[in-house]
Protein backbone atom coordinates (compact mmCIF):
# COMPACT_ATOMS: atom_id res chain seq x y z
CA UNK A 1 0.00 0.00 0.00
CA UNK A 2 1.22 3.40 -0.85
CA UNK A 3 1.91 5.76 2.01
CA UNK A 4 -0.61 8.38 3.04
CA UNK A 5 1.11 11.28 1.32
CA UNK A 6 1.26 9.49 -2.01
CA UNK A 7 -2.36 8.45 -1.60
CA UNK A 8 -3.31 12.03 -0.96
CA UNK A 9 -1.38 13.30 -3.95
CA UNK A 10 -2.96 10.62 -6.13
CA UNK A 11 -6.37 11.73 -4.88
CA UNK A 12 -5.66 15.36 -5.73
CA UNK A 13 -4.55 14.32 -9.20
CA UNK A 14 -7.69 12.22 -9.60
CA UNK A 15 -9.79 15.19 -8.61
CA UNK A 16 -8.08 17.23 -11.27
CA UNK A 17 -8.93 14.56 -13.82
CA UNK A 18 -12.53 14.78 -12.64
CA UNK A 19 -12.48 18.54 -13.12
CA UNK A 20 -11.29 18.03 -16.63
CA UNK A 21 -13.81 15.32 -17.47
CA UNK A 22 -16.61 17.35 -15.97
CA UNK A 23 -15.78 20.37 -18.10
CA UNK A 24 -15.34 18.22 -21.18
CA UNK A 25 -18.65 16.53 -20.55
CA UNK A 26 -20.48 19.83 -20.14
CA UNK A 27 -18.78 21.12 -23.25
CA UNK A 28 -19.83 18.20 -25.43
CA UNK A 29 -23.27 17.48 -23.99
CA UNK A 30 -25.12 20.72 -24.00
CA UNK A 31 -28.27 21.91 -25.70
CA UNK A 32 -28.79 24.97 -27.85
CA UNK A 33 -30.69 28.11 -27.03
CA UNK A 34 -32.06 30.56 -29.52
CA UNK A 35 -30.74 34.07 -29.13
CA UNK A 36 -32.94 37.08 -29.72
CA UNK A 37 -35.58 35.25 -31.70
CA UNK A 38 -33.10 33.65 -34.10
CA UNK A 39 -33.67 30.17 -35.33
CA UNK A 40 -32.31 27.39 -33.15
CA UNK A 41 -28.88 26.22 -34.28
CA UNK A 42 -28.53 22.57 -35.12
CA UNK A 43 -25.34 20.58 -34.94
CA UNK A 44 -25.32 16.89 -35.84
CA UNK A 45 -21.97 16.28 -34.12
CA UNK A 46 -23.38 17.24 -30.74
CA UNK A 47 -25.49 14.50 -29.15
CA UNK A 48 -29.01 15.49 -28.23
CA UNK A 49 -29.54 15.55 -24.48
CA UNK A 50 -32.79 16.32 -22.75
CA UNK A 51 -32.81 18.91 -20.01
CA UNK A 52 -33.62 16.31 -17.38
CA UNK A 53 -30.77 14.12 -18.43
CA UNK A 54 -28.39 17.02 -18.40
CA UNK A 55 -29.47 18.05 -14.93
CA UNK A 56 -29.00 14.52 -13.72
CA UNK A 57 -25.49 14.15 -15.06
CA UNK A 58 -24.53 17.55 -13.71
CA UNK A 59 -25.74 16.53 -10.30
CA UNK A 60 -23.83 13.27 -10.57
CA UNK A 61 -20.65 15.06 -11.54
CA UNK A 62 -21.03 17.47 -8.65
CA UNK A 63 -21.69 14.63 -6.24
CA UNK A 64 -18.56 12.81 -7.41
CA UNK A 65 -16.51 15.91 -6.84
CA UNK A 66 -17.88 16.31 -3.34
CA UNK A 67 -17.16 12.68 -2.53
CA UNK A 68 -13.61 13.10 -3.79
CA UNK A 69 -13.17 16.22 -1.69
CA UNK A 70 -14.39 14.34 1.35
CA UNK A 71 -11.91 11.58 0.64
CA UNK A 72 -9.14 14.13 0.49
CA UNK A 73 -10.28 15.71 3.75
CA UNK A 74 -10.30 12.31 5.38
CA UNK A 75 -6.80 11.56 4.16
CA UNK A 76 -5.56 14.93 5.40
CA UNK A 77 -6.94 14.15 8.84
CA UNK A 78 -5.19 10.81 8.92
CA UNK A 79 -1.75 12.01 7.92
CA UNK A 80 0.77 10.11 10.04
CA UNK A 81 2.28 11.92 12.97
CA UNK A 82 0.42 15.13 12.42
CA UNK A 83 0.44 15.82 16.13
CA UNK A 84 4.14 15.41 16.83
CA UNK A 85 7.01 17.79 16.23
CA UNK A 86 10.29 16.84 14.64
CA UNK A 87 12.05 17.13 17.98
CA UNK A 88 9.55 14.82 19.60
CA UNK A 89 9.95 12.32 16.78
CA UNK A 90 13.73 12.32 17.12
CA UNK A 91 13.44 11.76 20.87
CA UNK A 92 11.07 8.91 20.24
CA UNK A 93 13.39 7.34 17.69
CA UNK A 94 16.29 7.60 20.12
CA UNK A 95 14.24 6.02 22.87
CA UNK A 96 13.12 3.20 20.61
CA UNK A 97 16.70 2.70 19.47
CA UNK A 98 17.76 2.16 23.08
CA UNK A 99 14.85 -0.16 23.69
CA UNK A 100 15.76 -2.17 20.61
CA UNK A 101 19.32 -2.55 21.82
CA UNK A 102 18.03 -3.63 25.22
CA UNK A 103 15.87 -6.30 23.64
CA UNK A 104 18.79 -7.47 21.52
CA UNK A 105 20.68 -8.06 24.75
CA UNK A 106 17.73 -9.82 26.35
CA UNK A 107 17.32 -12.05 23.32
CA UNK A 108 20.96 -12.98 23.48
CA UNK A 109 20.66 -13.87 27.17
CA UNK A 110 17.56 -15.94 26.65
CA UNK A 111 19.12 -17.85 23.79
CA UNK A 112 22.11 -18.59 25.96
CA UNK A 113 19.81 -19.84 28.69
CA UNK A 114 18.01 -22.01 26.17
CA UNK A 115 21.26 -23.52 24.92
CA UNK A 116 22.29 -24.39 28.46
CA UNK A 117 18.96 -26.00 29.13
CA UNK A 118 19.27 -27.97 25.93
CA UNK A 119 22.65 -29.23 27.01
CA UNK A 120 21.19 -30.27 30.34
CA UNK A 121 18.44 -32.16 28.51
CA UNK A 122 21.01 -33.95 26.39
CA UNK A 123 22.76 -35.08 29.53
CA UNK A 124 19.54 -36.34 31.09
CA UNK A 125 18.51 -38.22 27.96
CA UNK A 126 21.90 -39.82 27.73
CA UNK A 127 21.67 -40.85 31.37
CA UNK A 128 18.22 -42.33 30.84
CA UNK A 129 19.31 -44.17 27.73
CA UNK A 130 22.23 -45.71 29.57
CA UNK A 131 19.96 -46.83 32.38
CA UNK A 132 17.50 -48.34 29.91
CA UNK A 133 20.25 -50.15 28.10
CA UNK A 134 21.39 -51.49 31.44
CA UNK A 135 17.92 -52.83 32.23
CA UNK A 136 17.54 -54.33 28.78
CA UNK A 137 20.77 -56.23 29.21
CA UNK A 138 19.74 -57.43 32.65
CA UNK A 139 16.30 -58.58 31.54
CA UNK A 140 17.66 -60.55 28.63
Amino acid sequence: MADRLTQLQTCVDQMLTQYFSALTHINTNHGFKSLAGEELVKDDTVPVVTDEERERTLEELAKDLVVKSQQIDYLIDSLPGIGSSEEHQMQQIEKLQKELEHYDQVTEDVIKEKDELLEHCDELILKLAQRKAHIDVESM
Binding site: Y19, L23, I26, L65, D73, E86, T107, V110, I135
Partner: protein, 235 residues
Protein backbone atom coordinates in the same frame (compact mmCIF):
# COMPACT_ATOMS: atom_id res chain seq x y z
CA UNK B 1 40.34 21.27 -29.37
CA UNK B 2 41.43 17.87 -30.47
CA UNK B 3 40.12 16.41 -27.28
CA UNK B 4 36.71 17.94 -27.76
CA UNK B 5 36.49 16.49 -31.22
CA UNK B 6 37.26 13.08 -29.87
CA UNK B 7 34.56 13.39 -27.23
CA UNK B 8 32.04 14.29 -29.89
CA UNK B 9 32.99 11.26 -31.88
CA UNK B 10 32.35 9.23 -28.76
CA UNK B 11 28.85 10.60 -28.48
CA UNK B 12 28.01 9.82 -32.07
CA UNK B 13 29.08 6.20 -32.27
CA UNK B 14 26.70 3.42 -31.35
CA UNK B 15 28.90 1.96 -28.71
CA UNK B 16 31.05 4.71 -27.20
CA UNK B 17 34.80 4.14 -27.10
CA UNK B 18 36.59 4.37 -23.76
CA UNK B 19 37.12 7.92 -22.51
CA UNK B 20 40.07 9.77 -24.00
CA UNK B 21 42.10 9.75 -20.81
CA UNK B 22 42.17 5.97 -20.72
CA UNK B 23 45.24 5.88 -22.95
CA UNK B 24 47.26 7.42 -20.11
CA UNK B 25 46.65 4.38 -17.96
CA UNK B 26 49.84 2.64 -18.99
CA UNK B 27 51.66 0.35 -16.60
CA UNK B 28 54.43 2.88 -16.49
CA UNK B 29 52.16 5.79 -15.58
CA UNK B 30 50.24 3.80 -12.98
CA UNK B 31 53.50 2.85 -11.29
CA UNK B 32 54.70 6.43 -11.39
CA UNK B 33 51.53 7.75 -9.78
CA UNK B 34 51.71 5.13 -7.08
CA UNK B 35 55.28 6.17 -6.40
CA UNK B 36 54.39 9.82 -6.21
CA UNK B 37 51.39 9.23 -3.99
CA UNK B 38 53.34 7.16 -1.53
CA UNK B 39 55.92 9.93 -1.29
CA UNK B 40 53.20 12.47 -0.46
CA UNK B 41 53.73 14.38 -3.63
CA UNK B 42 50.28 13.76 -4.99
CA UNK B 43 49.61 17.49 -5.05
CA UNK B 44 52.31 17.91 -7.64
CA UNK B 45 50.77 15.58 -10.20
CA UNK B 46 50.77 17.14 -13.63
CA UNK B 47 49.17 16.23 -16.92
CA UNK B 48 48.99 13.56 -18.11
CA UNK B 49 49.59 11.93 -14.74
CA UNK B 50 46.81 13.84 -12.98
CA UNK B 51 44.26 12.11 -15.22
CA UNK B 52 45.01 8.91 -13.36
CA UNK B 53 43.56 10.06 -10.07
CA UNK B 54 39.80 10.45 -9.91
CA UNK B 55 38.57 14.01 -9.25
CA UNK B 56 36.90 14.70 -5.92
CA UNK B 57 33.10 14.60 -6.05
CA UNK B 58 31.37 17.94 -6.63
CA UNK B 59 30.07 19.67 -3.51
CA UNK B 60 27.53 22.04 -5.00
CA UNK B 61 25.72 22.81 -8.21
CA UNK B 62 23.87 20.47 -10.50
CA UNK B 63 24.66 17.55 -12.75
CA UNK B 64 23.03 15.76 -15.67
CA UNK B 65 21.90 12.19 -15.47
CA UNK B 66 19.46 10.25 -17.64
CA UNK B 67 18.52 13.45 -19.39
CA UNK B 68 17.55 15.23 -16.19
CA UNK B 69 19.25 17.90 -14.14
CA UNK B 70 19.90 16.88 -10.54
CA UNK B 71 21.03 18.96 -7.62
CA UNK B 72 24.15 17.74 -5.86
CA UNK B 73 22.64 18.72 -2.54
CA UNK B 74 19.35 16.89 -2.70
CA UNK B 75 16.68 19.18 -1.30
CA UNK B 76 13.16 20.22 -2.08
CA UNK B 77 13.15 23.40 -4.13
CA UNK B 78 11.02 26.09 -2.52
CA UNK B 79 8.03 27.47 -4.37
CA UNK B 80 9.88 30.74 -4.64
CA UNK B 81 12.67 29.00 -6.53
CA UNK B 82 10.08 27.57 -8.91
CA UNK B 83 8.52 30.97 -9.47
CA UNK B 84 5.17 30.00 -7.97
CA UNK B 85 3.28 32.17 -5.52
CA UNK B 86 3.07 30.52 -2.14
CA UNK B 87 -0.49 30.90 -1.00
CA UNK B 88 -0.30 29.06 2.30
CA UNK B 89 1.21 30.32 5.51
CA UNK B 90 4.66 28.77 5.46
CA UNK B 91 5.70 29.96 8.90
CA UNK B 92 2.64 28.52 10.62
CA UNK B 93 3.25 24.93 9.55
CA UNK B 94 6.90 24.87 10.52
CA UNK B 95 8.28 24.52 14.03
CA UNK B 96 5.54 25.01 16.58
CA UNK B 97 2.87 24.61 13.97
CA UNK B 98 3.56 20.94 13.47
CA UNK B 99 2.16 20.13 16.85
CA UNK B 100 -0.96 22.22 16.59
CA UNK B 101 -1.91 20.65 13.27
CA UNK B 102 -1.57 23.92 11.38
CA UNK B 103 -0.58 21.95 8.31
CA UNK B 104 -3.91 20.17 8.33
CA UNK B 105 -5.65 23.50 8.52
CA UNK B 106 -3.61 25.00 5.68
CA UNK B 107 -4.16 21.92 3.54
CA UNK B 108 -7.89 22.03 4.08
CA UNK B 109 -7.95 25.70 3.24
CA UNK B 110 -6.09 24.90 0.03
CA UNK B 111 -8.42 22.09 -1.01
CA UNK B 112 -11.47 24.23 -0.31
CA UNK B 113 -9.96 27.03 -2.37
CA UNK B 114 -9.30 24.55 -5.13
CA UNK B 115 -12.90 23.44 -5.21
CA UNK B 116 -14.09 27.01 -5.19
CA UNK B 117 -11.66 27.95 -7.95
CA UNK B 118 -13.01 25.10 -10.05
CA UNK B 119 -16.60 26.18 -9.54
CA UNK B 120 -15.61 29.71 -10.50
CA UNK B 121 -13.80 28.38 -13.53
CA UNK B 122 -16.90 26.48 -14.60
CA UNK B 123 -18.93 29.63 -14.18
CA UNK B 124 -16.50 31.69 -16.22
CA UNK B 125 -16.51 29.06 -18.95
CA UNK B 126 -20.28 29.35 -19.12
CA UNK B 127 -20.46 33.13 -19.17
CA UNK B 128 -17.31 34.40 -20.84
CA UNK B 129 -15.00 31.57 -21.86
CA UNK B 130 -12.30 33.91 -23.10
CA UNK B 131 -11.55 34.94 -19.51
CA UNK B 132 -10.60 31.48 -18.39
CA UNK B 133 -6.76 31.79 -18.34
CA UNK B 134 -6.67 33.83 -15.12
CA UNK B 135 -8.85 31.36 -13.23
CA UNK B 136 -7.04 28.46 -14.77
CA UNK B 137 -3.81 29.93 -13.41
CA UNK B 138 -5.40 30.03 -9.95
CA UNK B 139 -6.18 26.34 -10.14
CA UNK B 140 -2.66 25.61 -11.30
CA UNK B 141 -1.03 27.60 -8.49
CA UNK B 142 -3.30 26.00 -5.91
CA UNK B 143 -2.49 22.51 -7.14
CA UNK B 144 1.24 23.14 -7.13
CA UNK B 145 0.92 24.55 -3.62
CA UNK B 146 -0.94 21.46 -2.43
CA UNK B 147 1.63 19.12 -3.89
CA UNK B 148 4.42 21.20 -2.45
CA UNK B 149 2.99 21.30 1.04
CA UNK B 150 2.60 17.53 0.89
CA UNK B 151 6.13 16.95 -0.37
CA UNK B 152 7.44 19.18 2.39
CA UNK B 153 5.80 16.81 4.80
CA UNK B 154 7.59 13.75 3.45
CA UNK B 155 10.57 13.81 5.86
CA UNK B 156 8.09 14.02 8.71
CA UNK B 157 6.23 10.99 7.41
CA UNK B 158 9.51 9.13 6.94
CA UNK B 159 10.39 9.68 10.59
CA UNK B 160 6.92 8.63 11.62
CA UNK B 161 7.20 5.44 9.56
CA UNK B 162 10.55 4.75 11.16
CA UNK B 163 8.99 5.05 14.61
CA UNK B 164 6.22 2.64 13.64
CA UNK B 165 8.68 0.18 12.17
CA UNK B 166 10.86 0.28 15.26
CA UNK B 167 7.87 -0.28 17.52
CA UNK B 168 6.90 -3.25 15.40
CA UNK B 169 10.41 -4.62 15.61
CA UNK B 170 10.42 -4.25 19.37
CA UNK B 171 7.12 -6.08 19.61
CA UNK B 172 8.48 -8.88 17.44
CA UNK B 173 11.52 -9.18 19.63
CA UNK B 174 9.41 -9.19 22.77
CA UNK B 175 7.27 -11.96 21.33
CA UNK B 176 10.38 -13.89 20.32
CA UNK B 177 11.87 -13.66 23.82
CA UNK B 178 8.56 -14.61 25.38
CA UNK B 179 8.28 -17.68 23.15
CA UNK B 180 11.75 -18.87 24.05
CA UNK B 181 11.06 -18.29 27.74
CA UNK B 182 7.86 -20.30 27.58
CA UNK B 183 9.53 -23.23 25.86
CA UNK B 184 12.33 -23.12 28.41
CA UNK B 185 9.84 -23.14 31.28
CA UNK B 186 8.03 -26.07 29.75
CA UNK B 187 11.22 -28.06 29.42
CA UNK B 188 12.23 -27.13 32.95
CA UNK B 189 8.87 -28.30 34.32
CA UNK B 190 9.17 -31.59 32.49
CA UNK B 191 12.62 -32.12 33.89
CA UNK B 192 11.40 -31.29 37.38
CA UNK B 193 8.55 -33.79 37.16
CA UNK B 194 10.85 -36.44 35.80
CA UNK B 195 13.52 -35.99 38.41
CA UNK B 196 10.89 -36.07 41.13
CA UNK B 197 9.77 -39.45 39.86
CA UNK B 198 13.35 -40.59 39.62
CA UNK B 199 13.76 -39.63 43.25
CA UNK B 200 10.66 -41.57 44.21
CA UNK B 201 12.00 -44.67 42.55
CA UNK B 202 15.37 -44.22 44.17
CA UNK B 203 13.69 -43.83 47.52
CA UNK B 204 11.75 -46.98 46.82
CA UNK B 205 14.98 -48.77 46.21
CA UNK B 206 16.50 -47.47 49.41
CA UNK B 207 13.60 -48.35 51.69
CA UNK B 208 12.84 -51.49 49.81
CA UNK B 209 9.17 -50.91 50.48
CA UNK B 210 6.10 -49.04 49.47
CA UNK B 211 6.58 -45.30 49.23
CA UNK B 212 3.95 -43.87 46.97
CA UNK B 213 0.88 -44.98 45.15
CA UNK B 214 2.55 -44.97 41.80
CA UNK B 215 5.33 -47.37 42.67
CA UNK B 216 3.33 -49.47 45.09
CA UNK B 217 3.33 -52.72 43.20
CA UNK B 218 6.61 -52.43 41.53
CA UNK B 219 9.53 -54.34 42.75
CA UNK B 220 12.98 -55.48 41.75
CA UNK B 221 14.42 -54.45 38.47
CA UNK B 222 10.95 -53.42 37.23
CA UNK B 223 11.41 -50.14 39.01
CA UNK B 224 13.90 -48.99 36.44
CA UNK B 225 11.46 -49.89 33.70
CA UNK B 226 8.89 -47.83 35.49
CA UNK B 227 11.21 -44.83 35.42
CA UNK B 228 11.73 -45.24 31.72
CA UNK B 229 8.02 -45.55 31.12
CA UNK B 230 7.31 -42.48 33.20
CA UNK B 231 9.89 -40.58 31.26
CA UNK B 232 8.33 -41.64 27.99
CA UNK B 233 4.94 -40.61 29.24
CA UNK B 234 6.03 -37.19 30.31
CA UNK B 235 8.01 -36.58 27.19
Amino acid sequence: MERRKKQNEGLLSVYPPPPWYSRYFTDENVAKVKDLQSSDNSQLLEAPLKYLTPPSPPEAGAYHNFGDVWQVNDKLATLEDLGITQVYDGAAIRGEGQESGARVLELKKLTKSLLLAFVELTGIMGVSPEQFPAKFEHVRVLLINIHHILNEYRPHQARESLVTLMQQQINDKKQHVENIRQSCDKVRDTIRVLSKQFDQVDEFEETGGVTTEEVKYVSGKDKDLLVVKMAEQVL
